[in-house]
């Protein structure tokens, strides 16, 4: 589970640390306050760890280079992104720090440093490398000491965590109900941020994990009272999602329904792969416990921008209830969400909320609801208050004037 995020000189995040992340985290703030910049940093980190995405160089290029990535007017030319997380009972808290030093703006070489710590102690800290390199994570000296093997094993775990356990849906995600088969370009171990690959993921789930598909179907029917069943139809040419009403196939499927399908697919995708994690550097029996960790048992993270969008307000309570089932389930997921909807916010707890605002200099700040505010507004049992109402009173901040 993610415990802390740190951003320095990343877009509008001049110097921000978000501590004590909860199983559910809901970011609220006015439009253009920096919420998407936070989530985009996570997406960047995931992307930078995938080889087919071109690694960190591919990430820098896809995100628009130095001028688009970097906070303006700071006089500094180094971006720092750091994440802390807990992966396993036998591994202490991991801290991973990425630094990208743009000495000459967008021009290469760009200096990249990586630091991995376990419980505050340095575990893996290769020499900084000059980009472009084909695969940044293989850079640095390899001394073949036990610590080095262990550090690399943990680093690989951390990479699995980010690339296969982080499922992310961007704000405008909308899965197509019909998609052309194009096996070369389909990713099946993570959901596309725009949800373009949902039909393929559901098809795979239907074929290989029917138990999960049935649960997915059941969840969907619990949320959508007019839907009787969901079917996946796959041929050599295309894969289709079909929804049936009580009496006939639904002729049209609304944006909200399609987004619900994508959100549930992202949740269930994390349970699909039960294979043990490979550890390429493990030649030593001392890592046995770690090696036996199946991928599906590694903590999952689901990031969804505005999950409430296009959904009926009456459905929001049940959606949050469903989220909580996943968070408290056998293989818990952690959620990071954003919203502008006070009705949706009513179903969360004050400690789950992060307020994203701009300071007087225009940089993004992120803060939890202070203990004092929690005490006076939410701990009076004689006068219970809905979080969304309190937000609308501008007590929490993050509300447009």
């Amino acid at each position: 589970m993610l415990t802390q995020l740190r951003f320095k000189n990343w877009r509008s995040l001049r110097d921000v640390t978000i501590e004590n992340l909860q199983p559910i985290n809901v970011f609220i703030g006015v439009n253009a306050s920096g919420k998407t910049n936070i989530l985009d940093a996570l997406y960047f980190l995931r992307h930078a760890n995938t080889e087919n995405g071109g690694g960190i160089v591919g990430g820098i290029s896809q995100w628009g280079g130095f001028r688009k990535l970097h906070t303006v007017n700071t006089g500094e030319n180094e971006i720092e992104l750091a994440v802390s997380f807990k992966l396993h009972d036998k591994i202490a808290e991991i801290y991973e720090q990425y630094k990208i030093h743009f000495a000459n703006g967008d021009d290469f070489p760009i200096l990249f440093s990586y630091l991995l710590k376990e419980d505050g102690k340095s575990l893996y800290n290769p020499e900084p490398v000059s980009l472009p390199v084909k695969n940044f994570s293989r850079g640095g000296a390899f001394t073949r000491t036990w610590q080095d093997y262990y550090g690399r094993a943990i680093r690989d775990y951390a990479r699995f965590y980010k690339t296969q356990r982080w499922q992310m849906l961007h704000e405008g995600f909308l899965p197509p109900l019909k998609d052309i088969q194009d096996s070369e370009n389909i990713t099946l171990n993570s959901i596309d941020p725009n949800a373009r690959n949902v039909s393929f993921i559901l098809n795979l789930m239907h074929r290989t994990r029917f138990d999960l598909f049935s649960k997915f179907n059941q969840d969907l029917l619990e949320l959508l009272e007019n839907v009787r069943k969901i079917e996946i139809e796959s041929s050599f040419q295309e894969t289709k999602i079909r929804l049936h009403e009580k009496k006939f196939e639904m002729p049209t499927v609304s944006f909200g329904t399609r987004r619900l399908i994508a959100m549930l697919a992202a949740m269930y995708l994390l349970d699909m792969d039960l294979s043990p994690l490979p550890l390429p550097y493990n030649n030593d029996t001392e890592f046995d416990d770690l090696e036996n960790l199946p991928l599906a048992h590694m903590p999952g993270l689901v990031v969804i921008e505005e999950p409430d969008m296009a959904l009926n307000p009456g459905l929001l309570r049940r959606l949050v209830g469903k989220f909580r089932e996943f968070v408290d389930g056998e293989h818990p997921r952690q959620l990071i969400l954003t919203t502008h909807n006070p009705i949706f916010l009513n179903y969360f707890e004050p400690e789950e909320i992060r307020i994203v605002e701009r300071d007087d200099d225009g940089y993004t700040t992120v803060k939890p609801i202070s203990k004092r505010i929690q005490e006076i507004w939410f701990e009076d049992e004689a006068d219970p208050q809905a979080l969304g109402d309190i937000w609308l009173m501008n007590v929490l901040g993050g509300l447009a004037d």
Binding site: N73, D360, D361, S370, R372, I373, I376, W377, D383, D389, I390, L392, M393, N394, V395, G397, D401
Partner: protein
């Protein structure tokens, strides 16, 4: 260099934490403040939709003041509490009014307590720009019974919607013409503005010190 100057000017801006009994009052005050104190930022604390009134304010004002104290970035930020006097329409059963007054007194070092006589609408009826836009003459309405009724009549006569909490989305259209000159005719608005001017947060010297 220019950026740095602008940044510093931004830093100097003061903030008024504004709380009132009705959402429409908050927006009216924001419009007035925009005219009178354009350099000051407003952080409003409106009642939630379909709530409000003096009972709501009495119940929540202390929590709101503590919240504003917690949220303010500088001790020079103002906290303003506003409500209607309602002396003409509610001469008895003044417990909620007294409770608000007592709490504001308790926090008097930090809170500017403003009462609109007899309703906030009197300040609007005294505004030359609005009166002209509604084909009327501005004057002192502080001692009139239900200035809100008079204002709504004026609005109705010129084809505008009534000023109510339900119409806050179009309040700028309803009050089009308002130029912030109500203090020329309304002694209670004049007194309120003097209180604000005299307070540390809007005092020019404070601005310079910062």
């Amino acid at each position: 260099m220019v950026d740095e100057c602008l940044r510093r000017i931004g830093r100097l801006s003061q903030m008024i934490h504004l709380m009132a009994e009705h959402a429409k009052d908050i927006i009216v005050m924001q419009l007035l403040f925009k005219q009178k104190f354009p350099h000051v930022k407003i952080r409003p604390y409106p009642p939630p939709p379909k709530k409000g009134g003096i009972s709501w304010l009495a119940k929540n004002v202390e929590k709101l003041i503590i919240t504003a104290l917690e949220n303010r970035k500088s001790k020079h930020d103002c906290i303003v509490v506003l409500h209607d006097a309602d002396l003409q329409t509610r001469p008895h059963g003044r417990n909620d009014y007294e409770k608000v007054a007592l709490i504001c007194k308790k926090y008097r070092d930090d809170v500017i307590f403003i009462i609109a006589y007899d309703e906030l609408e009197a300040w609007l009826l005294a505004d030359s720009g609005l009166a002209q836009a509604l084909n009327r003459k501005p004057k002192n309405y502080d001692n009139e019974i239900r200035p809100s009724k008079i204002l709504n009549k004026w609005l109705e006569d010129t084809g505008r919607k009534h000023l109510t909490d339900e119409k806050i989305a179009i309040i700028e259209q309803i009050l089009k013409g308002l130029d912030g000159t109500g203090d020329q005719h309304s002694p209670s608005l004049q007194a309120a503005l003097k209180k604000l001017h005299d307070h540390d947060c809007l005092n020019e010297d404070t601005q310079k010190r910062l």
